[in-house]
């Protein structure tokens, strides 16, 4: 059993590989050309948030995935879907809140945020 503290709800979760730092392109180094805010950039903001229960990141637990991040720079909207590790995960609301706070702090004010649980993956989707 675990060494100290309360037993984990999910002690041996599936883990996923970290995607690594985004490589810097020549275009990004060009002073003149603008870079739009894209899905990967939003994903990079939230992927390294730590799970409240594990010493693992949301990316390693596959709670967030780049395909579930949608951004429209021109219309200033961001939508993030996240998937709790197990359907009864009691931390789902906390995870959602962590993502939201991180995005509010890191994005320009013009953005409208929508953070929600991936449909069909949690018992309290509307919590």
């Amino acid at each position: 059993g675990p060494g100290g503290g309360a037993p984990l709800e999910n002690a041996n979760p599936l883990i996923y590989r970290r995607s690594g730092e985004r490589p810097v392109t020549a275009r990004e180094e060009d002073d003149e050309l603008p870079d739009i805010i894209d899905d990967r950039e939003i994903f990079d903001l939230i992927r390294s948030i730590n799970d409240p229960e594990h010493p693992l990141t949301l990316e390693e637990l596959n709670v967030v995935e780049q395909v579930r991040v949608k951004v429209n720079d021109a219309e200033s909207t961001v939508a993030v879907e996240f998937t709790p590790t197990i359907p009864h995960c009691s931390m789902a609301t906390l995870i959602g809140l962590s993502i939201k706070v991180k995005l509010i702090r890191s994005l320009p004010e013009r953005f409208k945020l929508d953070v929600h649980i991936t449909p069909g993956t949690h018992v309290s989707e509307h919590a």
Partner: protein, 990 residues
């Protein structure tokens, strides 16, 4: 009289005086005097407690006497053990007792051992309850000596253990400004040395370690794990046997569940040590082999996790198994024979690339352990019996579409290849074919590069296979003419061939095959007059350069390479230059600046590692080629007209550029190689550098001149300073010393530079020459360097040359890639940057304050360059004095100054927050305003500084918090992604 006074304070003072005297002169005492004093002092131990400290001081003095009669040491110690309650004394007096014991142990070991276990017991009572870290260090040392020198512990082993282990784990934080300088780490190591000094402690220590590993305190865990590792060095099966199950379960838990990499690493190290300890023990036929039963329990707990390549515990399990297996050949054999078949089976069971990658990575880990034991042992190796399935798994990874899996496959291939006798000849051919395919045809550049690297590391092991199979294939591909493929594919395939040829040239026999292919190809692309051919030539040069670097360590390859490549390159270049001189506007690709610049490192790398004898042989051809047009040593040497790069004449411009190749050669020679006709050569270079209209040629000549001057022997003339202006220069006479020759040539240079700087069409050339000569002399601490640096400082106020002079400081401070660096044997003193800083920064600061507004920026820029190249630790200690200037520099509109100032301030914010706090207002304002600079690099640097501001004390920052967070919202919407990234980091931290 004092000694008999009834007031204990007075007696104490009397004793103090006597003991002080003894401490001064104990070495003068006679044996008899010592005897009387000892008896007196022993008796005084019964005196009032106020007197005791001085009595102990006296005994300490006596314990240092060489003439102490036999028996007295024992009697002194007995008296102390009996009469003194040590732990009720003050720290200093307790320390005195330890010193007495230490002194006696050093000189009277046999006598003390005569006391038997009583001595040990006495000491246990002395140290029981000790709390002062200074005393503990001494006491621990005494215990170590007791054990190491085999004093009788008798029935007191457990007591001795108790009296020391009660400090475990050490929990001590030195008070701030501690004058004794005892660190927690000192105590930890000292106690560990005690605890791990004898197997006799094992039965008490191991339960304690297990208890501490199970605690929640990370420092206790780490200490326990490290102590366990230390114990394994001296324990045997007997000590460990009873505790193995609990030890294993604790270690397993730490690795499976830890959040700390450090704990994980120490747990693995402890497991490794345990396994090594069990492997070491000699087996007797009737006892159980503990190693096997221990390993079996590990296998039992870890094996099944390996079958779940998606799950979190897969890696911890693999690490545990590898830690245990890495301890000995026996352990390795036992574990791999169980795990390898399992992994192979799992690989075939899991079709997904990502799972296969995990499994293959684990397999690779076990193969690397095999590599550690060198060759595969014919009889008992399970590895050989698995040869076919392992190869098939690795080959399947190489053909998988997933690049990640390919990369692991390539690494596995490299390991398999290095296991001697593992790959059969037919497998080897297959390996080479796979590598060729991946190197040339794999779309992903990572895989292609990895395959080339693998070929490079396997080629020296199997040179015949690679030279017979790979080199011909690459040559064929290189020569084949483009067919239907688009020219871009063609181009990249050629590029890959060139890279692969260079990568595989890691064995002397292969170099002899690849170098002619590369040179042949170079001649071919040089003849093709495509637009892109300059780039093609550069690619070949890059490959040739890599081969040159790989040849450097092997004298034979190095000389072969030099002899083959240098004359060929020179011949091609001379040929092109001579043709250009006769039919001027040809515009040969080979003579373009960037192509010549690409040939420079090739020639340089082919020259730096030559032995002085061979280098002398080569220099006797190359210098006459440039000075006298001696072309006879070149491979194709019939030219349409003569080669005279140093002659005057419009049409010789192309020939003059080849000074770049001369520079590459002559500036890379070892310092002790004499250069024929050096004076003449230097004069020609000097003239060329000052008068040539082409800036490439002039700069190259200046660099070549500087490179030679830097290495020119100084002789005795070094100390004498030179007259600064134009005295008539005598012609060199043969009897001159090297030092005089150097002074002479430097004087010539100064005489050309000074008037050149004042006026005329070649001011820029004169400045360039000044910079390079200054650099050459600054590096070797030549006395003339300060005169030249002052010249340069003076130019900062020149409206025309000022900015270039300011940038010149960067040239002085930076490592130059082709000349004047350590690699080409230049004379570089290690502290030259610090010295330059100390000598010149005050002058720069002074100049700045005296300068007119239009040239102030030049001084700041020069200063920025100097600061930028200073080692960071030096910078941090020196910067506070320059702080006000740096703050002023933040308002300078030059972006080079802004950038360099920001990069100076950033480490200062992190390392000297106290000083920086005083300027927080200015810093916040300037940093925030620079975050909207038009230059991206400045915005990034300003945001990094804003980020670094957070390391100032919170109390200083609080008033600015709201303002900074508001201001940092704007760069979150910057048009550049890299800027936004820094803004997110900085704002998050605020």
């Amino acid at each position: 009289f004092c000694l008999e006074n009834t007031d204990p304070r007075m007696r104490g003072r009397g004793m103090q005086l006597l003991s002080q005297v003894l401490l001064q002169c104990y070495y003068l005492l006679q044996e008899k005097e010592v005897l009387h004093l000892v008896l007196f002092y022993e008796n005084r131990l019964q005196d009032h407690h106020l007197v005791i400290p001085s009595v102990l001081q006296g005994l300490r003095a006596l314990s240092m006497c060489e003439v102490l009669s036999p028996g007295l040491a024992v009697s002194v110690l007995k008296a102390i053990f009996q009469e003194v309650h040590v732990q009720s004394l003050l720290q200093l007096d307790r320390h005195t007792v330890y010193s007495i014991i230490t002194n006696f142990m050093g000189t009277r070991e046999e006598e003390l051992k005569g006391l038997g276990a009583d001595f040990t017991f006495g000491f246990i009572q002395v140290m029981d309850g000790e709390k002062d870290p200074r005393n503990l260090l001494v006491a621990f040392q005494i215990v170590r000596d007791l054990i190491a020198k085999n004093y009788a512990l008798g029935p007191f082993v457990e007591e001795l253990f108790e009296v020391t282990s009660c400090y475990f784990p050490i929990d001590f934080t030195p008070p701030p400004n501690d004058p004794h300088g005892i660190q927690r780490e000192d105590l930890i190591l000292s106690l560990r040395a005690v605890l791990a000094s004898t197997p006799q402690f094992a039965e008490f220590l191991l339960p304690l370690l297990i208890e501490k590993m199970d605690s929640d305190l990370q420092s206790a865990k780490l200490d326990a794990l490290q102590t366990l590792t230390a114990c394994c060095a001296i324990y045997g099966q007997k000590e460990l046997q009873e505790f193995l199950p609990s030890l294993w379960s604790s270690l397993r838990r730490e690795v499976f569940q830890t959040a700390s990499e450090k704990v994980e690493a120490e747990s693995l190290a402890a497991l490794h040590a345990l396994s090594a300890c069990l492997s070491r023990s000699v087996l007797s036929s009737d006892t159980e082999d503990l190693l096997y039963s221990f390993l079996s329990s590990i296998l039992q707990d870890c094996r099944h996790h390996l079958c779940e390549p998606d799950m979190k515990l897969v890696w911890p399990s693999a690490k545990l198994l590898q830690a245990a297996a890495g301890a000995s050949l026996r352990a390795c054999h036992h574990i791999t024979s169980s795990v390898l078949p399992l992994l192979l089976e799992q690989y075939n069971k899991h079709p997904q690339s990502s799972q296969r990658r995990t499994i293959l990575e684990m397999l690779l880990g076990f193969l690397e352990l095999q590599q550690k034991w060198g060759h595969v042992e014919e009889e008992e190796s399970t590895l050989l019996s698995l040869q076919a399935p392992i190869c098939s798994v690795v080959f399947s990874a190489l053909t998988d579409p997933s690049v990640q899996l390919q990369l692991v496959g390539i690494r596995a291939l490299t390991v398999l290849g290095s296991l001697q006798g593992f790959l059969s000849p037919s497998d080897l051919e297959l390996v080479v074919d796979h590598l060729i395919r991946l190197a040339l045809c794999e779309e992903d550049s990572q895989s292609s590069e990895a395959a080339m690297e693998a070929a490079g590391s396997l080629a020296p092991i199997y040179p015949k296979v690679f030279s017979g199979r790979m080199v011909p294939r690459l040559e064929e591909e290189l020569q084949s003419e483009p067919e239907e493929e688009s020219s871009r594919d063609r181009c990249s395939l050629r590029q890959r061939c060139l890279q692969a040829l260079a990568a595989v040239s890691t064995h002397t026999s292969i170099v002899r095959e690849t170098v002619p292919v590369l040179l042949q190809h170079l001649r071919k692309v040089q003849k093709e007059s495509e637009a892109g051919s300059a780039q093609d030539i550069i690619s070949v040069c890059q490959s040739l350069h890599r081969v040159a670097l790989q040849c450097q360590q092997d004298a034979e390859s190095c000389w072969y390479y030099h002899q083959t490549v240098v004359p060929s390159l020179l011949a091609m270049a001379v040929q092109a230059a001579v043709q250009e001189s006769t039919h001027p506007p040809l515009g040969k690709a080979l003579l373009q600046e960037e192509v010549l610049a690409a040939m420079v490192p090739v020639i340089s790398a082919a020259t730096t590692h030559l032995s002085p004898e061979l280098a002398a042989q080569s220099v006797s051809h190359v210098v006459p080629l440039f000075l006298n047009g001696e072309v006879s040593f070149l491979p194709q040497n019939s030219f349409s007209c003569s080669f005279q790069p140093f002659q005057d004449g419009e049409c010789l411009e192309a020939q003059r550029r080849l000074v770049a190749l001369l520079m590459a050669f002559v500036c890379s020679l070892p310092r002790n190689v004499a250069i024929p006709q050096q004076e003449w050569l230097l004069r020609e270079l000097l003239a060329l550098s000052c008068s040539c209209n082409c800036s490439f040629t002039a700069t190259t000549a200046a660099k070549c001149f500087a490179g030679l001057v830097n290495k020119h022997p100084a002789g005795k003339g070094l100390g004498r300073s030179l007259p600064t202006t134009g005295s008539a220069v005598a012609q060199p006479v043969p009897s001159m010393s090297p030092g005089q020759q150097l002074d002479e040539i430097l004087q010539l240079a100064v005489n050309r530079i000074e008037p050149g700087l004042v006026e005329g069409p070649h001011r820029t050339q004169a400045l360039t020459l000044l910079l390079w000569v200054t650099k050459a002399l600054v590096l070797r601490y030549h006395p003339l360097s300060s005169h030249l640096t002052d010249k340069l400082l003076g130019l900062l106020s020149d409206t025309e040359l000022g900015p270039a002079a300011a940038d010149g400081f960067s040239l002085l401070m930076a490592e130059s890639p082709d000349v004047l660096h350590k690699g080409c044997h230049a004379d570089v003193r290690i502290m030259f940057r610090q010295r330059f800083f100390t000598d010149n920064v005050p002058k720069l600061v002074q100049g700045f304050h005296g300068a007119g507004p239009d040239v102030k920026a030049n001084y700041l820029k020069g200063l920025s360059h100097v600061l930028n190249h200073l080692p960071k630790p030096v910078l941090v200690t020196e910067l506070p004095t320059l702080l006000s200037l740096l703050l002023e520099a933040l308002s300078c509109s030059d972006r080079v100054v802004q950038l360099s100032t920001l990069s100076c301030l950033q480490p200062l914010l992190l390392e000297a927050p106290q000083i920086m706090s005083l300027h927080v207002d200015t810093l916040v304002t300037k940093f925030l305003s620079l975050t909207s600079s038009p230059t991206m690099a400045v915005r990034i640097a300003a945001l990094r500084c804003a980020h670094a501001l957070t390391s100032l004390p919170t109390i200083v920052l609080l008033p600015y918090k709201a303002r900074v967070i508001r201001a940092l919202a704007k760069p979150l919407d910057d048009k550049k992604r890299l800027v936004r990234k820094e803004a997110v980091a900085a704002r998050g931290e605020w």
